[in-house]
């Protein structure tokens, strides 16, 4: 594989860009693999990469219904953070932050990780206290966090509404300076390219139609491109988890919901942080291209549509203007929807299942993108070693039976309330 570098770029430019290698190949599926990962999204690609890199398992196929990176890794708002309150979430995410920090070099692919910092705004003392609880927990877990007062917030984001005319005044905020954004598509492509180079087969346009299970053991998967045997299978399909679970006669603590996001037309740099509104659900950052990337509430009903309705976006943008009134004059350029596997406590599941050799990675709700490297790393470990790693031990499927829930928001099972 070619190594990307400035020299390589110049060399290729001088040869008229005719000698670039394939970023990944387009192989015909083999009859059998050691591991089949279902789902060519960020998590699936990362899992395959870490199986090869950390566990030397390279007889691996990723099978993807459409094109790789076409799920939520290609349709999120690119926020990367580890500002969680519960230890299981915080330590897992912070492990991921380390992987993010070296990802471009590790993958030899610029994923443009940009630690610009995230600020969660607070609009009352009570909310400041809730953030303090989270921030202190982060600090005690070794994660950076700063509690900002109103003046400090104003200094960093003067375009937020500090006027008299505001419905929910800004009291301050919790900031994680090391949080940031990355170029989402590049993450998928970078993992794909490296996994491919280590021998992983990336098989696109290959839909799973069924599973081969006997005596409580997974044997293989039936696909639109034929049957594929596998010693182990990892399920990594975000919003489509329930569809595959049904083929395995499993019912999971997951509902599939729709989340919309949108971008404005590009403008010159005006906002260099990620900011969330505390009196509702709205988050915003400005992309390198200059677009304001914005998101908020779920549409609030079960959906596989990847298309939402305007009232939800109206609601989200209302909060946007409430937070930063200048947004009013920008224009909404593009909207899209992604389907979320909303788990019943808002935290993910990375675990073995009752079927031997079948592993589950799901329930990422709206937080899947930032988890890509840590999810891939721990899932690869779980598959390779047939046991969960300490980092994902809290993400067990059994926690809904035992009551060891990880409900960061305290909303319980009504996942559509965001």
């Amino acid at each position: 594989m070619q190594k990307y570098s400035i020299f390589n770029l110049v060399k290729n430019a001088l040869s008229n860009h005719e000698n670039w290698d394939l970023a990944w190949k387009d192989p015909t599926p083999k009859k059998e693999y050691d591991v089949v990962i279902i789902g060519g999204g960020g998590h699936g690609l990362a899992t395959a990469y870490y199986l090869a890199k950390e566990h030397n398992i390279t007889n691996v196929a990723i099978i993807e219904k459409g094109w790789i990176g076409g799920g939520n890794v290609g349709r999120n708002t690119t926020i990367i953070r580890s500002n969680y309150m519960y230890d299981d979430n915080a330590l897992f995410s912070e492990f991921g932050m380390d992987l993010w920090r070296s990802m471009s070099q590790d993958l030899n692919y610029n994923v443009m990780f940009s630690p610009r910092g995230i600020i969660n705004l607070a609009h009352s003392d009570a909310q400041m206290n809730i953030y303090a609880r989270r921030g202190n927990s982060m600090r005690l877990n070794g994660i950076d966090a700063v509690l900002l007062n109103r003046e400090q917030v104003k200094e960093i984001i003067p375009m937020a509404d500090f006027s008299e005319n505001v419905r929910f005044p800004i009291f301050g905020g919790l900031m994680q300076p090391s949080a940031g954004t990355a170029r989402h598509d590049a993450v998928a492509w970078g993992y794909a390219r490296q996994a491919d180079s280590m021998g992983v087969d990336i098989i696109q346009n290959c839909e799973v139609v069924g599973f081969d299970v006997s005596n409580g053991k997974i044997k293989g998967v039936r696909t639109s491109r034929g049957d594929i045997s596998a010693k182990k299978i990892g399920l990594c399909v975000a919003g489509s988890t329930n569809i595959l679970a049904e083929k395995l006669n499993m019912t999971l603590p997951i509902e599939t919901h729709l989340l919309q996001a949108c971008v404005s037309e590009p403008v010159k740099p005006v906002l260099d942080r990620v900011v969330t509104f505390g009196a509702g659900h709205f988050y915003i950052s400005q992309s390198d291209k200059g677009e304001m990337v914005m998101g908020g509430d779920l549409d609030g009903y079960n959906s596989y549509a990847q298309r939402g309705n305007l009232p939800t976006l109206q609601h989200v943008l209302t909060e946007g203007i409430a937070m930063m009134p200048f947004l009013s004059k920008l224009k909404m350029l593009r909207t899209w929807g992604g389907i979320m596997d909303m788990s019943m406590d808002g935290s993910p599941i990375i675990d073995k299942t009752h079927i031997e050799g079948l592993y589950l990675n799901c329930g990422w709700c709206y937080g899947g993108f930032k988890a890509t490297p840590a999810s891939g790393w721990t899932f690869a470990h779980t598959i390779a070693q047939d046991r969960v790693h300490k980092l994902n031990s809290g993400y067990s499927l059994n926690r809904f039976n035992t009551g060891h829930l990880l409900d960061e928001k305290g909303l319980g099972t009504r996942t559509w309330i965001s």
Binding site: N8, E18, N110, A132, N141, G142, G190, G290
Partner: protein
């Protein structure tokens, strides 16, 4: 400056009204009815901006919504807006605009250096470099790239404009007022349907304004005007210009943005700048027309290269010549129409037709007019940097692969026509699976998913006769279905020139040895070579191509580039175009201002505000308010220079020593009536309710089914079948829905009615050792003695002529009562309590003091009942019945919920009895332990105990039951605090409840 490119007596502009405007600091004139684009071209200005990546010079490409280039910064009435398309912005007096994305000026742009480096900046180059050294991406490269990107400049000033909404319903919504739109609107309106006709431009008529056709013995334009005049008079028709239907959502809901004031120097007072229409239509007719496609050739982004239809529109609508030596480059008959218009106005065009020998009426007309036509010819490349100066042209072989010898001819513009692409955006948004039509090389709508029909050019129908016929018929049939009328109008005679087939040619090959950039996406600088690289590297799905190269992701959303991109991919991949497929069309069709989407819910009104009947009194008595959900509640009443801490301490202290009064109107109140009301309570609450006597209140806790505490409060039995439930302010709405859920869906056999009476009653809590004395004065005829009104008792009373409900309940650890009167009398009650209370040194107290009082007595509230705790955690296990079943009971048996070391609420006191403990801190065993330092619990609520005059906090602590008396550390790294503390009982004041029962 003279308008040297303006024709006399041609066009639809108002020559009696001259308008002055400024562009890049220079003053120009135009006419009413001009767009900024037409006025600039009339003045000979063609250089308007710079491209996104290479900063190449940019002019005008189209004449409307499809414009990829001509983007300006607009200044209007003291405000500025970025990214305005000059082709859409109507001219108004005093308009000021500047170029975007160039520095220091549009003519000399430093960023253009990228243009010379462009061979090093192919598609995806960002991904391949800028990776070393490690931290340089964020610190060095990215800031540089960010500055270079973006287009216009966003003002961070608050937007003062009004944007409004309108919800409308109709039988037929018709999007687009070209021939098919007008015909359908007319047919449906005449048949009695309620019709909305939307046109995105300022003028109705679409292509009828520019094409040389005859309908019913009138010119197309006259016919359109006649129809519009008639429609305007009809009461069942709403016609809207400057109104773009931009989104097609579920259940036939469409959204339209109406630009009411954007064409005016300023918005009329009390009127909106824009209005967003949510339109629910029984049937939708999409008559959005088509957009001309470019032919791809070398340097095809040079200013002066533009769509042939745009050139015609500038000429016929605005009386503006886009050039005086035009070259028309076409693969179909449309280019001839433009050429003929030039010729008619005294300009000699040259036509290059890729076709070998086309035979049609239009071609014959052009020949007859003596226009110079070169068949089998192509433009190889435009020459000129800031404006086209000449064109390299060549003969092309029949197989379209070999170029002949290159000739150079002088020209000042190149008008390109690569045939027409139907505007299928709305149809596709509705869920319609589009299909590829080989005859026109483009996608057209397929089977309708919702009640939508696409007509005319948007459906790939390019003859007027067929368009009008199908539109009349479809609109008649659809309206008949809705209105049951059968009033058919007669179909007019149509005369139009017959055209012949187009040449399926869209990209000029590179001549040997030349490496011209051939652009597909003009704003994002995506060239043929970029797509080639993407495919070579394996980015083969059309979505990968789009994302890797950014094809079609600019502010024009690929209206002129997407199809050519598809053609290229299909050619290289050797697939048919439909097998490549197109990327998804999503709303909006064209960018919409966020202000319009949001409407009037801005500033103070971004959310409603709830106020109690005593709000005005609080305001007048220096209350400082706090948001409680959307309620405003007094947090404290400020006296002099007091701060929050001092005031709340004073207020709380006064409750402990004298008496205080607090507005508790915001607590949720639910009236529960019916023969089975008691049974409902017994199932909803964790404790037993069947034996509560009339006239008594009881405290209760309710759970979610997952065992987590949902809410707490008291419920009073007013009469045999009548209960009065109170909830917390925060959960009031949820609790009501919760009860309705069980009553309607789970236990429909119960005969119970629940209704919110939160607003019916104003509530005042009277608390403190002197509260009974005060109550006695307020209700002299009631026996409010310890025996007459015992703890948890209830009675009705007369408060100086006003009927009142009196509850003896307490959340403050003091003898306390709650008085309710009907809301109109709330203020009267409050003033009476204050007035009579003077004798007892009464003071009003706010939520902060309320909080202090409840923390001191260990009464759990929102910060403990945070959606994550079970009754045990809150020391409420005594209220959990072991005998009966209730909502959520089954979950309480879970392993984690019954663990020996389960968390529990405790009290926390600093060892020094001085240091305040910040809320949100955590409890640890060893403050010096390495990170991650295991946390044992967290501080949920803190106060300054007025009883003991030292800090006191509540905490949820692991194994709290066994921790009383232990010493731990409170840590707040955020505030740099480490505080040694002792764990005590959460019931710090009046642990045995003697005062409340006194």
């Amino acid at each position: 400056m003279t308008q040297s490119f303006r024709l006399e007596n041609v066009g639809l502009i108002n020559r009696n009204k001259k308008i002055s405007f400024k562009f890049n600091g220079k003053k120009y004139y135009g006419y009413e009815g001009d767009t900024l684009a037409s006025a600039l071209i009339a003045n000979g200005v063609h250089l308007i901006g710079r491209s996104f990546k290479y900063h190449r010079p940019r002019g005008f490409f189209g004449a409307g919504v499809d414009e990829p280039y001509a983007i300006v910064q607009l200044y209007r009435n003291g405000e500025t807006e970025p990214n305005i398309k000059a082709t859409e912005q109507e001219l108004f007096d005093g308009l000021v605009a500047t170029s975007v994305n160039c520095w220091p000026s549009v003519k000399f742009d430093i960023g253009a250096i990228n243009n010379f480096l462009k061979i090093f900046l192919p598609a995806g180059f960002y991904y391949k470099t800028f990776m070393w050294p490690k931290s340089f991406w964020y610190k060095v490269y990215e800031p540089f790239i960010r500055k270079a990107a973006g287009l216009g400049v966003a003002s961070i000033k608050h937007d003062k404009e009004r944007y409004e909404h309108k919800y409308e319903y109709c039988d037929l919504l018709i999007a687009g007022s070209g021939p098919s739109g007008l015909a359908s609107a007319y047919a449906a309106a005449k048949n009695g349907a309620r019709v909305i006709l939307a046109e995105e431009k300022s003028r109705f008529g679409g292509t009828l304004l520019t094409s040389d056709v005859n309908i019913g013995n009138k010119s197309g334009k006259e016919w359109a005007e006649g129809i519009i005049a008639e429609l305007t008079e009809m009461p069942n028709v709403t016609i809207k210009n400057r109104s773009q239907v931009f989104g097609y959502y579920d259940h036939n809901m469409l959204v339209m943005s109406e630009r009411i004031s954007d064409h005016l120097p300023k918005t009329k007072k009390f009127h909106p700048k824009q209005r967003l229409w949510y339109i629910r239509a029984k049937e939708v007719l999409i008559s959005a027309g088509s957009i001309e496609r470019p032919i791809v050739f070398g340097n095809n982004d040079t200013p002066g290269v533009m769509l042939s239809s745009a050139a015609k529109e500038y000429l016929k609508v605005y009386g503006v010549l886009v050039g005086k030596k035009p070259l028309i480059f076409t693969n179909n008959d449309s280019g001839y129409e433009t050429a003929i218009e030039f010729k008619k106005n005294g300009i000699d065009p040259i036509i290059l037709d890729t076709r070998e020998n086309p035979q049609s009426e239009i071609v014959d007309d052009a020949k007859e007019l003596g226009i110079n036509i070169k068949f089998s010819y192509v433009v190889v490349a435009a020459q000129g940097y800031k404006k086209v100066k000449s064109a390299d042209i060549a003969k092309i072989s029949v197989n379209k692969e070999e170029l002949g010898e290159i000739e150079n001819i002088k020209c000042d513009c190149i008008c390109v026509s690569g045939f027409w692409t139907p505007t299928i955006h709305l149809a596709s948004q509705s869920g319609n699976k589009t299909k590829f039509n080989e005859n026109i090389d483009a996608f057209v709508p397929g089977k309708s998913k919702q009640n939508e029909t696409t007509l005319g050019a948007a459906n790939g129908v390019y003859t007027l006769d067929e368009t009008l016929k199908s539109s009349f018929e479809t609109a008649h049939e659809l309206s008949k279905k809705i209105t049951n009328n059968d009033n058919k109008i007669s179909f007019p005679n149509v005369i139009e020139k017959k055209s012949t087939t187009h040449d399926k040619f869209w990209c000029v090959p590179l001549p040997k040895g030349k490496n011209y950039k051939r652009f597909l996406d003009f704003q994002n600088d995506v060239a043929v070579s970029d797509i080639e690289i993407a495919l070579k590297e394996g980015y083969r799905s059309i979505e990968h191509v789009k994302r890797y190269t950014t094809l079609g992701m600019a502010t024009d959303q690929g209206k002129t580039s997407n199809l050519n991109g598809l053609q290229l991919v299909s050619k290289i991949e050797n697939k048919v175009v439909p097998a490549v497929g197109h990327t998804t069309f999503r709303p909006p069709y064209s960018p919409v201002s966020i202000g319009a989407i949001v409407g009037r819910e801005v500033g103070k009104h971004s959310k409603p505000t709830r106020k109690s009947p005593m709000h005005n009194w609080h305001e007048q008595n220096n209350a400082v308010f706090v948001d409680a959900g959307v309620w405003l509640r007094p947090r404290y009443y400020k006296i002099g220079d007091e701060n929050l801490f001092e005031a709340s301490k004073r207020e709380a202290k006064n409750v402990r020593t004298n008496v205080g009064v607090c507005d508790v109107t915001t607590l949720g109140k639910i009236d529960i009536k019916g023969p089975d009301a008691g049974e409902l309570l017994n199932r909803v609450y964790t404790n037993a309710w069947l034996k509560l006597p009339v006239g008594k209140a009881r405290y209760g806790v309710m759970l979610r089914e997952d065992g987590i505490v949902m809410d707490d409060g008291t419920t009073t039995r007013i009469s045999e079948n009548h209960y009065h439930m109170t909830t917390t302010t925060a959960q009031a709405a949820n609790v009501l829905s919760h009860l309705e859920y069980y009553l309607q869906l789970v236990w429909p056999e119960l005969n119970v009615n629940v209704v919110s009476t939160t607003e019916q009653w104003a509530g005042a809590a009277i608390a403190g050792p002197k509260s009974r004395d005060l109550l006695q004065k307020l209700f002299p005829s009631c026996d409010v003695s310890k025996e007459g009104l015992p703890f948890m008792g209830y009675m009705e009373g007369d408060l100086f002529g006003v009927k009142a409900r009196i509850f003896r309940i307490s959340f403050s650890g003091e003898l306390a009562y709650e008085v309710n009167v009907e809301s109109d009398n709330g203020n009267f009650m409050w003033e009476k309590i204050i007035e009579v209370g003077q004798a007892f040194k009464i003071q009003p107290y706010g939520t902060e003091a309320l909080s202090t009082l409840r923390i001191e007595m260990g009464h759990v509230a929102g910060s403990e009942l945070d959606g994550r705790t079970i009754p045990y955690d809150n020391s409420l296990e005594g209220l959990v019945s072991k005998k009966k079943d209730f909502i959520g009971k089954r979950s309480l048996t879970k392993e984690a919920f019954t663990a020996e070391d389960r968390q529990k609420v405790v009290g926390v006191v600093p060892l020094d009895k001085k240091t305040s403990i910040p809320e949100g801190s955590h409890l640890v065993k060893d403050s010096n332990a390495p990170l991650p330092n295991p946390k044992l619990g967290f501080i949920s609520a803190s106060c300054w105990s007025v009883e003991y005059d030292n800090p006191f906090s509540l905490a949820i602590l692991k194994d709290g039951k066994n921790m009383i008396g232990k010493k731990l550390f409170v840590m707040s790294p955020l505030k740099n605090k480490v505080i040694p503390v002792e764990i005590v009982s959460s019931h710090y004041v009046d642990p045995k409840g003697e005062r409340v029962r006194s």
